[in-house]
Subunit: 383 residues, 2 copies
């Protein structure tokens, strides 16, 4: 049915109507006092969401741009980087570091697992002469639906002395990631996730320690240059022409987020994701991430029942129920499907999604008790 | 008056209502068949606008991002770059090249002038051992309102053998810049200019010769990597999550542009800019660019009359007539103001702008015959 599509992919995520309509206003001049007033509030509100006193830079670029903006301002050729890889997006950090000529070492785990802090500790302890300059990691691995224990990992990196660079693209505003309390040096995120606006903006917050390392970077990026962004944030401006309409959208979305409150937002994400997991189990499907302690509150990866294919599930959900869910990526393609409960998602959306998934499986011939998933969701949401 | 603001700065430029409303639709998934169909048409339409058979990459970034995407994929440290500087944006090429560790030589002219092809010829002729790898230049210098003779300049660069890298940010779709006919190697532009959509996207088209040089680039950008973009264009996809809503806006705007026709668009820009120049002269103000042959069809720089300040003119135009014009930049600040006639601008807008400028000057005490500017515009537009 036209205009009924509901996105439950890990991004873009659904956008509130008021955000869409504000975004559709005629662009204002990016050097005007009106726009500067918007920027001032946006920069201030972002610090609350990132739970930091550091400046948060807003880039006209998608999340991968922010990832490049992190490493392109830190690394010189042959610098030693340790990349903690639990999925495609962890691997992306490693590839970007390699594109800068860094000497990259990976700690990888089987997909569906998180990094064991004791493994990182052993590696960092062995680095007696402090060769490792930067450690990259992923908070919430979008490709698998696993959440790393960033608090413990960053604490080890801090003790070692390396710069911690964290991908919070699908975690910020979905699960707690208090930058200052945990001591994260560089934290990036994207607009089309927990921030409830369309893709096109991304965020990067930088600690003083990271900024000192940046000052030793020989060929930092021009477009993503931290010094230019820091100056601009402090002047309530932007270094280059920004995506004005997306900033206006962000301004509106941040007001909504403040109204709901960060703790309530985190609680909502936790409630929806755990309700979805309870439903999936009640339906009799298998969760890709077994361990509740590392299961993401933003993305849930699900195995199809035997004899029913991921493409059939996705196609029926889309065609008959106007819900879009994601396939697995690369080696996980057609092995899992991923449902996002990220951003502008409420209890009703979750119930509709579970009911539609049940209806889909019923149509595709899966033998189960229809309604069992919704019942589990109802019970879980009422807790 | 609320909601009446009309932008006559060099960007963002006014956006058509249908573009704004299409942009306000809920985002679609960027890996969906719907979005792929949009991309296919966008990529094809852009080739017509760039007048090229080369692929045109669309970046989620502003124009400066596209400029970095040009040089970051071409240069290795110590490469020799010749930058033709006729204003701030020509200087930006030089700075980006320097940020990549290149050895940059500048040919600069007094602001308000264009590059004399014979000066470039002499320099290139003197480069007997072909040390110069890349020559950067600006088609339409937004800071001054001067248009370079790109056809002649690129022809000389081609003869020498260097890679020509052209900033077409405010020229593409405003004045003729046939990439293939003129033999341009790398051509960049931005969305918030002739393309009539808000800022946030930029474009880069790359010749086969430039792509071969890219293949020798040791540390190309990851986010802006040409190989990733070329593969994606050919797959009707994007390498990373794009600014989906801006692509939808671009799709709509390109349809409008095709309907008007590229030659008609160019003719409209020429007519409006030359009418504005005729009006300015009739009002008795001085044009910053005296020579009609190098005056831009996108931006007109104007000196204020004696005793009346640029800030007063800008403030009155904005407050009383809801028209925003730009100040000069850096050394030209408060010395000139700049009026854009770029993108979604019609005869009525031009007449309103001239009349409002006259009303502004009248209020500020300038002695002249009110209506003289509008009369000149009416006569010029009727030609």
């Amino acid at each position: 049915m036209q205009d009924k599509t509901f996105l439950m992919i890990p991004g873009p995520t659904p956008v509130p109507e008021s955000v869409l309509l504000d975004m559709a206003k005629h662009p204002v001049g990016h050097r005007s006092s009106e726009f500067s007033a918007i920027l001032k509030e946006v920069y201030s509100d972002l610090k609350e969401i990132f739970q930091t006193q550091n400046d948060v830079f807003v880039l006209t670029a998608s999340g991968t741009g922010a990832m490049e903006a992190a490493l392109a301002n830190l690394l010189n050729p042959n610098d030693k980087v340790l990349s903690l890889v639990i999925g495609n997006f962890g691997e992306r950090w490693a590839k970007i570091a390699e594109s800068r000529g860094a000497d990259v070492e990976r700690i990888s785990v089987e997909f569906g697992q998180a990094i064991d802090p004791s493994v990182l500790k052993a590696r960092l302890d062995a680095d007696c002469d402090k060769q490792i300059k930067v450690v990259t990691l992923t908070h919430n691995e979008t490709a698998t639906g696993v959440t790393n224990d960033v608090k413990s990992l960053v604490s080890l990196i801090k003790e070692h002395g390396a710069v911690s660079v964290v991908d919070g693209v699908t975690s910020i505003a979905a699960l707690p990631c208090p930058m200052d309390e945990w001591g994260i040096d560089v934290l990036v995120s994207g607009s089309q996730k927990g921030f409830m606006i369309p893709p096109g903006l991304s965020f990067i917050a930088v600690s003083d320690k990271a900024f000192e390392v940046f000052e030793q970077c020989k060929n930092p990026s021009f477009y993503f240059n931290w010094a230019a962004y820091r100056k601009s944030v402090r002047d309530a401006s932007t270094p280059y022409t920004p995506a004005v309409n997306l900033f206006v959208a962000l301004h509106t979305a941040l007001k909504m987020m403040k109204k709901e409150g960060l703790e309530n937002i985190h609680a909502r994400h936790k409630k929806l994701a755990t309700a979805l997991r309870a439903s999936i189990k009640a339906i009799g499907l298998e969760l890709f991430v077994k361990d509740e302690n590392i299961a993401s509150y933003a993305i849930t990866s699900i195995l199809p029942p035997e004899g029913i294919s991921v493409p059939d599930i996705r196609a029926t959900l889309k065609k008959d129920y106007n819900i879009v869910v994601a396939n697995g990526q690369n080696a996980l393609k057609d092995k899992i499907f991923r449902m996002g409960t990220l951003g502008f998602v409420c209890d009703r959306d979750l119930l509709a999604a579970v009911a539609s998934l049940e209806a889909t499986l019923y149509k595709l011939g899966y033998k189960f008790e229809p309604g069992a998933g919704v019942r589990a969701a109802i019970e879980h949401l009422a807790k």
